[in-house]
């Protein structure tokens, strides 16, 4: 009776055609993205992320040559910004990847499952039924979309502000070679996407932590602590042997994109590291979430 009329596409045994399944998957993803991106908290986070390149640009414009602090990477970009505005985008990505960007990723990924559990909406989603694996996939997909949006937005705002405040021209790379502006912007796009992949790996860790609790703030704090502790450990040379296994170790390897020729092994090594983190923590999240008792 009713069920068949309503579903139309439901096959015997509740299986759904692949095309319809994909359509329903995107319908839920759209709903999830609306939920994430229309929250005031997310909008505030994005505003902060966008404000950083603006502030950096203004500060550099007002006090030229006064660049201090930061690691080798930051310094390298800092000196270039006043010469070429496009470098403001790179500088912003480096600066924000230390704390603000991981914080934003921690908020979004930490909230993913824990938020639903704490609110009690998780039991309603699961009895629809959302399907636990499917819901987890949607949550991770939304986190990845957020990471990509955040990184691309920082790059775009940085480039626009840089173009407005500073001279623009052919881009002089870290290796000393000069490439046309268009190619420079293309490389900027890839840098932003690389950092988005790095953040997605952190998002996978966040998703796993988020399945362990129904306290959102606790999950967020734990994720941020992991990101910061990993960066600290990465700067202690006595434990250099574990550095390549730290989740944050390859975050800034994107400067490989700013050399001629592009240092592909470094980039691929980084992407491999992110992929491994996504697989491991994705599995942890899946193993936990598909078997956990939902008592919230």
């Amino acid at each position: 009776m009713s069920t068949a009329d309503v579903t139309g596409r439901t096959l015997r045994g509740g299986a759904v055609e692949p095309l319809a399944a994909a359509r329903h998957w995107f319908r839920l993803l759209r709903s999830e993205l609306a939920l994430v991106f229309l929250r005031r908290r997310t909008i505030a986070l994005l505003a902060v992320l966008a404000a950083v390149p603006v502030l950096l640009g203004v500060v550099l414009k007002v006090s030229p040559g006064g660049g201090g602090g930061g690691g080798g990477n930051t310094l390298a970009f800092l000196n270039q910004v006043t010469g070429n505005g496009v470098f403001l985008a790179f500088l912003a990505l480096v600066v924000e990847s230390a704390l603000i960007l991981p914080l934003a990723v921690a908020v979004v990924s930490g909230d993913s499952i824990a938020g639903e559990a704490g609110r009690g909406t998780l039991r309603y989603l699961l009895t629809v039924p959302a399907g636990r694996t499917r819901l987890l996939g949607i949550k991770f997909a939304a986190t990845v979309v957020f990471c990509a949006c955040a990184c691309l937005m920082i790059a775009a705002v940085g480039a626009v502000v840089g173009v407005i405040l500073f001279p623009v021209g052919p881009v002089t790379l870290l290796s000393g070679d000069s490439v046309p502006l268009a190619e420079g912007l293309l490389r900027l796009l890839f840098v932003a996407l690389y950092l988005a992949a790095a953040m997605a790996a952190l998002g996978a860790i966040g998703l796993a932590i988020s399945t362990l609790t129904e306290h959102t703030v606790g999950a967020m704090a734990a994720i941020l602590v992991i990101a910061v502790a990993s960066q600290v450990a990465d700067s202690v040379s006595q434990i250099a042997v574990i550095h390549p296994y730290l989740p944050t170790h390859f975050w800034l390897s994107f400067d490989a994109m700013l050399r001629v020729p592009v240092a592909w092994p470094d980039l691929l090594h980084g992407l491999l590291s992110f992929a491994v983190y996504v697989v491991i923590f994705g599995s942890v999240a899946w193993a936990r979430f598909t078997t956990a008792d939902v008592t919230s």
Binding site: T3, R123, L126, T127
Partner: protein
């Protein structure tokens, strides 16, 4: 017992089905042999069937192996005091928590393995409403509908409005959930269960926190849902709230199902005592004991006993025959509430 499709639940054995011989056992082997997906309901006509369903949290046994048998088409009141294991049972039925032991079938489909196939046919409200406070009632239902991979997005707006209309929330559809009153929140949760036609609706304490008017409305709504042929499984800690709408009841106490059967059967249990008013109670007590009646108790000029299968006329005749001056004889019917309390225990009898 032969397989009967549909709602031939009248023939299903009820009564106390704890331990020992379990009438529900009869259908068990046959269920295992047929592919679950092709059956609309259980061959025994059960919308919900569990065998030895148990849940242990740490060293606390929250549900101690219960055999639920909810006939298709019935309105089943799932009763018990707070903490007696009702919500834990409902969470197991819906696949939210994994049973420690036992098996369960929803509409003939084994759970939780068949969750994706069967849950779209089941509407539910579990342990109070829970929605996104920043979204409107309408947007909240849209979110749940988007989650349902078997729902048609094209008909979603119409179905959402129809569900809101059914619980009387259409006027407040665009209002944020945050601004809803408790009664409105409760009704929105019921609306979520009515987003599409269901074969089974599971409502966990749907009248919790509602004023008498709201309680009446929910009762009327349940009657309406049941009138469409939908099986309704409704939990409550108050018998009085569901007594008027239920055809069957199950009573939980400290994790055990202490009674299960039709409302008539529950009422039947209350006719089990006889009261004799006499000036010679001791003599009357002797006669009653001689007749094989149990639980004979003597009070001032009054004797009561479990009458069992004995006809009151016979008892009266024997009393008179034995020379007992019978001033009065009656079969007092305990109220359902008394029975309920007798079954569930007085006071805070919480498991663990």
């Amino acid at each position: 017992m032969t397989a009967r499709p549909g709602t031939g639940h009248d023939e299903v054995s009820f009564g106390r089905v704890r331990d020992g011989e379990q009438p529900v056992d009869a259908w068990r082997p046959r269920l295992e042999s047929a592919p679950a997906a092709v059956r609309r309901t259980d061959p025994a006509g059960l919308a919900i069937a569990t065998i030895g369903l148990a849940k242990r949290f740490g060293d606390q046994l929250a549900v101690a192996g219960i055999d639920l048998a909810v006939p298709a088409g019935s309105v089943y009141g799932f009763l018990g005091p707070n903490g007696s294991g009702k919500t834990t049972t409902i969470r197991m039925l819906l696949g939210l928590i994994q049973p420690t032991d036992g098996s369960q079938r929803l509409l003939g489909v084994s759970m939780p393995a068949g969750a994706n196939a069967v849950l779209p046919r089941v509407g539910s409200l579990v342990e109070g409403p829970a929605f996104y406070p920043q979204l409107s009632g309408q947007a909240n239902l849209a979110r749940l509908d988007a989650t349902d991979r078997t729902a048609d997005p094209r008909t979603a707006p119409a179905r959402i409005d129809a569900a809101l209309d059914r619980v009387g929330l259409l006027a407040a559809a665009g209002k944020r959930y945050r601004a809803y009153s408790l009664g409105m929140k409760q009704r929105l949760a019921i609306a979520a269960g009515l987003l599409r036609p269901r074969e089974l609706v599971i409502l966990d304490e749907p009248t919790n926190g509602l004023d008498p008017q709201g309680t009446r409305e929910v009762r009327a709504l349940i009657r309406q849902i049941a009138a469409d042929g939908t099986t309704v499984f409704v939990s409550s800690h108050l018998l009085a709230e569901v007594e008027q709408i239920c055809s069957h009841v199950g009573v939980m106490r400290a994790g055990e199902l202490v009674f299960q059967g039709s409302l008539e059967e529950l009422r039947g249990r209350s006719a089990a005592r006889i009261l004799v008013r006499t000036a010679e109670p001791d003599k009357a007590a002797l006669v009653l004991t001689g007749l094989g009646l149990t639980d004979v108790s003597v009070a001032d000029r009054e004797v009561t006993a479990q009458i069992g299968a004995e006809a009151p006329e016979t008892v009266c005749e024997r009393l008179v025959h034995a020379g007992v001056p019978v001033a009065g004889l009656e079969i007092p019917r305990a109220s359902l509430e008394d029975l309920f309390v007798e079954l569930t225990g007085e006071g805070f009898d919480v498991n663990g």
